[in-house]
Assembly symmetry: D3
Homo-oligomer: 340 residues x 6
């Protein structure tokens, strides 16, 4: 299998049990998650040699976070230790007409206070077959954006393909700042991943006649978004996930994958949601897996969409699922019959 | 914000975890709830100065009940302490074709054994802007009915608007007894709230051609019910909630609000239910909030229906939700997208 | 009420809490279940004198298993103690597009290593009104198949009706072996129960033009399956349950019941699933109950289908539900309104 | 083994998890317990055919209570169903210098509202080898005292030995009332059991120079108490348990057993307490077991003390322990080494 | 009762369940605590009108923290809302030879980033009978030290007694810095509270010949520490708690209370610890209660020591116990017998 | 740090929560443990590169077991996958006078059915600095004994030191069989570890005048046992752990370490036990760590005893503790004061 490196922030996720609201909780489920960590973990579950690179505090909380990743087979040997805290996000699960709610407490985290000297990319990327990051990472601060730039420049020098999930976060930066910084990083990116809102928020590229708040997504509009992105930045391919939010409990889920020449539209799943966090990340991991294992674009897209549909039936950020299980769904068996 | 007083019984609610049946439970979630307490709590969450009046035993169980209300901002300083026990209701959550099941153990509770001397309504209602009670309260016994009458007479004297939720409980009294007692209280009520069955059960006023057991509710029929009620008792307005029970897990939910002159029909929600108990109470609280904050009838109705749709996605009797969150749903955003 | 004897294996069922995957679980819910035990328990809940016969290890785990059955009213006095272990099955609950997953660890169990001398059927079946077993029991080994044959021969001698649920398990034996062994037992069976796949797997009798993986089941095809079975083995009646698997969370559920002369098709339920394990067993128990209490075929079928629809809303293998509750659903009340 | 009948009240016990105070609890462990039920259950664990007689409400809470007893092998077939509620006691576990705390909510229970006609003692006591009750039972009301008197008169008529645990409860009656009522029952009692305070509270028979609040108990004083009791009421034997309360977490535990001729003093255990409720009941069960299996007084006493020391290391009211395990401790092995 | 104001930081406390280590935890119990909040809460439990003043973020986590205090009767109406986060401390419970472990994550909290303008002390302290703070508060930063100085100057102006618990925290500041800042605040303090190490750490005043790590504490040495403190700062009284740490599970616990003229030495408890956090705070609250209710010094000291011994048998930071319960222990009943 | 290889069986451990008995449990904590796995994990926590070698089934249960080890830093890359099941042991925690209870269900496990061809020791032991196994491994069957012999012969060839913990298990083999098989392995062992009973059970070498059931252990006697062992088998050193079982909750704990020339006796700890399983394994890991890091015998012994005293305060088989934490206790700080 392949060697993949991802870089970014991982946070402690504190979630009330079940469908309790924050005010009702007397305990929090202690989970961990972050865009690039989620991708690395999903790839490790698919059998790859995937390493996640970040900076964690040298205390028991940082150890616990590393252990959780290690448990699921992520290579954690490249993680830098230092800084004073692990970022936190509190996550309350919604249901039906009540949306999920996230409260961030991530300022001052070990990775947000890292410096360029903390990471030796030449060493980190030796033997790598792929590098992945998201738009959250440069949003953590100019220092982290600079580290990300170091990483992808090194990857480019070594001929390592780079994927990026745009992942716009309004709490971290403005659309303007995001647009400027991300535009500077895009030249080093081969495969761009985005959700139905990101391209608009970051680059002002909007799908015409689409009102996402009502769950009606026009595939046609997003083909044009992809085409514009490819034209502007020269990506090898652009994938856009399309979530139709009927309620907090039920979503439509599909995606498109476009190159300069063609566009594939995936099957569409209606998912009864267990935990939607990490859906986009699991899509990215599926796409990378498909690409690295030589699937064609259409097949890789179906694998990625099936992987991320399955993720949304699994608790936590992490897509604890094997490539075989994903392939079975991608091949059409969505009946949910017991596997004995 | 306004000062609201509600009066009635609050019980300890013992619920098996998740979807376990009573016979499977080795522990009970310890919650509290009761019609008027639920209304006060919801109004406190909306930012009002809401006090709940009752009688609680002077022991650790009574303390725990008071603390729970206090936690969510209810003014508990007017609660009388005495009597020997807190009433209990055991509540098993249904799912799909299996209905929820309630076993009452409320006889002999502190409030059911209270006397008129326990409550000084002139003192309790000083500074009040609204008084609310339900049909459960007079059903607890002639002594409690007399206390309720004291309360609403005092409210009338002070010019405080009174709302009443009919809330017929067949375990507490017969339709005949209910009809007689409630008819004596109605002259003091300004705003009447009822569900799709109450008016028939208590006053024999039935919506024509409606078979609620099959989930088909005729709005037209209920307009006539409201008109009859207004005509008979002179209410300023009558609100009727309309539950379409497809199953224990999925319900349609809407309401109408009628005055002598007009009738408003609300939007209809299909709710995937987390906990339906307290749905009617949260509707009442929403209606009172809308009225007290100067919304027109149509807007107040939409606020009330949205509030009570949200309640049914929240565990327990209490509607732990802010006015902002309700307004967002009432304004049309039911997509359930994550709020960050 | 009647005296029913069932015979087979019961296992410890270890399930991750909620929707967690095996790899995420730090604890397992400890449940018990097995086809014939489930039937006996359901019949005990309906008020019958139902005994389950098996062999359990003489240790604390065997005691706990016996206690669990005893708690729900099953007569456990005929259980033989001996052998070295209780079989186990690990069961992970699926959701939406993710199927449930079962890992068996049942080899070498006390019942699988039992011998014919362990069971005195003449004694066990004294006073019995009915005997029930499933196709899992003879699949445990030739020794257990021989014990089962002893049982049904004795039943035949005593004039006790025998029901059998085909219940093919591919992990235990091949279709060929199953076909041969089961064909030897069928002459002693009066009522045969099967799901939509069993007759094909065990006897090669397939419903034409039915693709169960897409959830479209042709009633017509299954009538012919039933007719063929009756013709071949001379059963008094054949019941076939028809599961339409839309997803792991939502299934269609109905059944047919055929005799040599007529075929009844049941109402069809769409069930939002809490736990689908034991669905077939609860159908069997419902059918036996209907027959023993003198319902006609059509009514017995509706009772059985309602019972098994309810089972799928209850956690665990066991159908903890009374005959009254089943009758209410069979009579048409599927609204899920709270029962107070 | 022997057939033992016990009669009295069983309650739902609601306990905060672990060492939480009532005010901190968001759930209660749902246990069941009551003096005579505890004795029956312990005897069933020792292998006897033990039946518990009471009256339980005919609802799901009553069913759950019966099931719990049935699970542990108690014969529940003689339980009468009726009345409106199961009595409750809330029980908060103390630790170290903080005492355990019990809040009773038992008024109006099914057994407290039973009538003499509910119980056919001639039928109930057929085949019985022993009858047991406690002083709590007649304290429930004159009606229940009358039922108890019916029971022991019938037992006397049939020549069935009767044991009684004095078990004074100050919340149920005054010392004066207790003294009068119990004095009327004592003539039918063969074996009296009491703790270090009961004889004083009920009959005013006090051990000289003993200050139980400081944990110093004079064996000599209690021999005299026993002698006085035997003299006054003609018991065959009197057993007195001696608890030395150093703290809520650590107690000394021993007992004496006296007849008209001799007095045996048991070994003394220092127990690190898991749950002390039911300690006296498990002593009674041990003594009955010892007597019924033909142990001499000294050995029966040691068995009873060991049984009750073990009880206090087990959660809940029930002494879930086998006669073998008790015998091992009684024989001197208190090392706590792992049993493999 | 009296009106008491306390001021400082409250944090979210995340604790692994039971005795799990951080690395083993998959969930955290969500508690709240902080020196001055703990004191206010304990005083509210004793029946006083106690308000806690702090700054909390205006989000759901801040709301939950406020609610928790409100639940236990603390007046939270003076809490300022603003800032970006609630401070956190992770707390792992030790056992026997394994010490408890605390990881702080409190930097940047709402209170640590507050400014003097946030608090109007003239308004806050109107009607106050007592003001309390600890040495942790000025350690949060020069801005917070300035706010504390504002508070105690205002208290002095209004003639409100001030108590201070030295509470040295080495993670927040150095002994030198602490000594300088605290010396500037001491002139406004009437009652000083310290543990066996604080005076040494902050002011370099050491008890001669005491080796606290071996659990042998010389009362004589601490009398001299108190005398030196009184001499240097002119306190009305000085109380020093004396913890003898035999292990993480068992501690000796006592205290001395000295004025310029006399010194009282309390009874000494050996406590089997449930949760030792908040022991010092509950002592302070007990002392304030004793003083405000007119106990003499000796009695107030015994009340305070008993209160804090009890605290250590209660989970969490908060001393959920009534004045009656404390008085019972202070009066000598440490037997732990069940209170019914 | 060093590279250590351990080889043996790891099992799923199913434990009732808290102090519940098996019959009371409705869930099991799912833990994993086994002598050699425990040693590898402890060494990984101390910072070593420790690999555990075994055979695990290629299913989700085997994956979960591997993940658990991987989480705590054990190198699991040498684990062979195959066979049909993971062995299980059910473990009920005792308290006070009630002993812990273990029920094994380990027959037919993947490792017990392994063959010599499954393990390439030349490959496995490349770069290894130490090899460790226990007497449980050869007890699993002649095939596994042969594999163990292959391992230690290869180690001898490569000059890798070998340690063995005798660990006699009466459920797996007789003393005679154990004596014969172990005698054949001892020539390859450099460091022998045993508890106070093993040498007697396996080799018939008994400490004179020692009655372990009463918790009085003569150090002198064990020195002679060690001397005899060294004489007979030529070990470089022999360590014997000495457990004084006062009760299931409190044990004395110490050890001796002898070479041909000298004997060191460790400090003795009295441990309040959280979980005593794995105590001996953590001692072994401590001794290996001490030896590999160049401590002298006395210091290594103290480190090992401190490590294993700490283990008994930690839930589960695994000693989740750092070398620093152990050193702090070994250096004398047993006060249990909070570490901030």
């Amino acid at each position: 299998m392949a060697r993949i490196i991802t870089f970014g922030e991982i946070m402690l996720r504190l979630s009330p049990p079940g469908y309790l609201r924050f005010e009702q909780a007397r305990s929090f489920d202690a989970l961990y998650g972050g865009g690039e960590a989620n991708v690395a973990l999903s790839l490790a579950q698919f059998g790859h040699d995937a390493a996640f690179v970040t900076r964690l505090p040298a205390n028991a909380i940082g150890d616990s976070c590393r252990n959780e990743l290690r448990q699921y087979g992520v290579d954690t040997s490249l993680i830098v230790r230092g800084g004073s805290r692990l970022g936190i996000y509190y996550c309350e699960k919604g249901a039906s007409v009540r949306p999920s709610k996230v409260v961030y407490d991530r300022a001052g985290s070990a990775i947000a206070t890292a410096s360029r000297e903390d990471f030796d990319w030449d060493h980190i990327l030796r033997d790598a077959d792929w590098f992945h990051f998201t738009g959250i990472t440069p949003a953590l601060g100019d220092n982290v954006a600079a580290i990300a730039l170091d990483a992808i420049r090194t990857a480019r020098d070594k001929g390592i393909p780079v994927s990026c999930d745009l992942n716009y976060r309004k709490n971290l930066w403005s659309p303007e700042k995001a647009g400027t910084v991300m535009a500077g990083l895009m030249p080093y990116v081969d495969v761009l991943i985005a959700n139905e809102e990101d391209a608009d928020k970051v680059f002002g590229i909007r799908a015409a006649e689409t009102d996402i708040s009502h769950g009606n997504l026009s595939t046609e509009g997003y083909r044009k978004v992809a085409a514009t992105l490819i034209e502007r930045f020269g990506f090898r391919s652009v994938a856009i996930t399309l979530r139709e939010s009927y309620s907090a409990s039920e979503n439509g889920w599909s995606a498109i994958l476009c190159t300069a020449r063609t566009c594939h539209v995936s099957r569409r799943y209606v998912v009864h949601i267990v935990d939607r966090v990490g859906g986009g990340d699991s899509f990215g991991a599926g796409l990378i897996h498909g690409t690295l294992t030589g699937m064609g674009d259409a097949q890789a897209l179906e694998f990625a969409v099936a992987a991320s549909a399955l993720k949304q039936t699994i608790e936590g950020d992490f897509n604890i699922i094997s490539a075989d299980e994903v392939s079975r769904l991608a091949a059409g068996d969505a009946s949910g019959r017991v596997q004995r």
